[in-house]
């Protein structure tokens, strides 16, 4: 295990000084301006509820699955939403397999809070039989490549996966109406989830010299920055969550500035997510109509990609 420490990646002093000095003239090492987001690309897999988001060099995969379970005792009429974050060792040489570390748990909490506290996903529509059967939605976030700002990318992946997920339709049956019959997708069309709004997480990095602020830090900037803050806002201007985890102190006016910036960015990101989901839904509908053998179907898909 000591061998692993010897393999950990460290930024050199020269690199750190270069990043800090460049920021004094509002230049970032990848050529962006301080308040510019990296390019976001959202792709979907073959199945419903699987998304892959690329934010610059950061890559995150989201998978949504659902299961029928008993609800919690104190909430018999609500479905269950749970988020599992996997910091895969392929993302970064310092990520270890096994139990999630502090960063993974924090990321999971931020995404979870954004969705749950703001009631973005309607959990009451997931109830089939109060007190007995509800749908438990499980979101698995796999971090594939750590290029910095994992929270934002993971959040977008979770939202994209939730928007394209379809749960099987079920109805009550049996002698006393207490049994739940789950219909397979070939017989009855599966239903999408009810998502009221999209909470977008936007992260900021603070640097110690002259309170410099950047949006969407890369992993080089993350190694240099003095503090970070993640704000979750939606396109309507509602603040869903704020997380500032340690690091240096930040004055009030800077926090207000961050919130304003976040709200303006959230609108464009929400539009991007919705456009990508539209394209996927159209493709999905077309696939349902064409009943070609798989080999022809694949050609169609490759051309569209």
């Amino acid at each position: 295990m000591e061998g692993r420490l010897a393999n950990s990646w460290r930024l050199t002093v020269n690199d750190k000084n270069f990043i800090k000095t460049a920021l004094l003239s509002e230049i970032r090492i990848d050529g962006r301006k301080p308040f510019e987001f990296r390019k976001i690309s959202i792709k979907f897999g073959r199945e419903d509820g699987s998304s892959e988001v690329q934010l610059g060099q950061t890559r995150v995969m989201g998978m949504v699955t659902a299961q029928l379970v008993q609800p919690y005792r104190d909430r018999p009429k609500e479905g269950i939403l749970s988020i599992f974050t996997e910091f895969s060792p392929m993302a970064d040489p310092s990520f270890e397999p096994g139990r999630p570390g502090e960063l993974a748990v924090e990321l999971g909490r931020i995404v979870d809070r954004g969705l749950r506290e703001s009631r973005a996903v309607d959990t009451e529509s997931l109830c089939i039989l109060a007190g007995k059967f509800v749908w438990a939605i499980r979101i698995d976030l796999h971090i594939l490549d750590n290029g910095g700002n994992l929270v934002d990318a993971a959040n977008i992946a979770a939202l994209a996966a939730l928007l394209t997920f379809r749960r099987p339709e079920c109805s009550l049956g049996g002698e006393d109406g207490q049994e739940v019959i789950v219909h397979p997708p070939e017989i009855r069309e599966p239903l999408p989830l009810t998502v009221h709004h999209l909470p977008i997480a936007i992260s900021f990095g603070f640097f110690s010299n002259e309170s410099i602020l950047v949006i969407d830090p890369t992993h080089n900037e993350e190694a240099v920055m003095g503090g970070r803050m993640t704000t979750t806002v939606n396109a309507n201007g509602d603040i869903c969550a704020i997380q500032k985890s340690g690091g240096e102190g930040v004055p009030r006016r800077v926090i207000m500035q961050c919130l304003q910036l976040a709200t303006s960015k959230a609108a464009s990101i929400t539009k991007q997510i919705k456009d990508a989901v539209e394209v996927f839904n159209t493709e999905r509908a077309l696939r349902k109509i064409k009943r070609h053998p798989t080999s022809t179907g694949n050609d169609v898909r490759e051309k569209q990609n």
Binding site: E2, G3, R4, A6, N7, G45, R46, E47, S50, E52, Q57, R59, M61, M63, T65, E86, S88, P89, M90, A91, D92, P93, P97, R138, D140, H142, L144, D145, N146, G147, P293, T294, S295, N298, D299, E302
Partner: protein
């Protein structure tokens, strides 16, 4: 005997293959392999200093981490890890970098049948992308035997469930002769470590082996073309 497969393929036809290398930025080597709808992503980090406790320090060590699409890591994942590890250990030249560990991380993106052979192919391409010294490429293929006795290659998940037995076969890639005749010769024995069979008759197994070997020639051509194409692309910095 003629067989009707659901997607219109013949008995010996493989699904469309797609492969891309160098897709991740932090990993030393990465590859994505898809056979039809089955898609697997593999990343390689290495060689790193030191070996684990029970491993031989005179040789390089290979560590495999299998990540399923969803759910906890259980016994099937550990089994896949062990099979992949043994297969890749027989393919890599372990004496070049002694006392080092190479980690291979396999992530299942979608499972539609023939998952383990796709993973072996993806891991092999990722190792090539990372520049880990290997004796030859590993070409993996899945053959199944149905209850009525016919053998099909590269099943989908639905087909797999109806089969009586399946064999995952790993072959070294075909050798192109350097001599002017330029004939293709398939050399060597299949690597025993990559074979898993369920209850099957010996004759069926040898039949599978023949079919698999023939198909592996096609697969290794595909691999070779893919590797040659990308190596002539402009090099990426960093």
């Amino acid at each position: 005997m003629e067989v009707d497969r659901e997607d219109g393929r013949s008995q010996n036809q493989l699904r469309p293959l797609a492969c891309s290398r160098n897709i991740l930025h932090r990993a030393h080597g990465s590859a994505s392999w898809s056979q039809g709808d089955t898609k697997v992503l593999a990343a390689v980090y290495g060689p790193k200093a030191g070996t684990k406790k029970n491993e031989n320090p005179e040789k390089a060590c290979i560590e495999v981490i299998w990540k399923p699409k969803t759910g906890q890591i259980g016994k099937p994942e550990k089994e896949y890890e062990m099979i992949l590890k043994r297969t890749l250990e027989s393919v890599c030249i372990l004496t070049v970098n002694p006392n080092t560990t190479t980690s291979i991380i396999v992530q299942v993106v979608n499972d539609d049948g023939a998952l383990l052979p796709s993973a072996i192919n993806a891991a092999c391409m990722a190792l090539v992308d990372a520049g880990i010294p290997m004796k030859h490429l590993a070409v993996a293929i899945c053959c199944c035997v149905a209850k009525s006795g016919y053998v099909i290659l590269d099943p989908t998940k639905l087909e797999e469930q109806k089969m009586k037995a399946f064999a995952y076969l790993v072959f070294p890639n075909s050798v192109h002769s350097v001599l002017p005749e330029g004939s293709l010769r398939v050399e060597g024995e299949p690597i025993e470590n990559g074979i898993i069979t369920s209850v099957t008759h010996v004759d069926d197994y040898f039949y599978c082996l023949e079919r698999g070997r023939a198909a592996s020639v096609k697969l290794s051509d595909f691999l070779r073309r893919n590797l040659q194409q990308q190596s002539t692309d402009s090099s990426k910095a960093g």
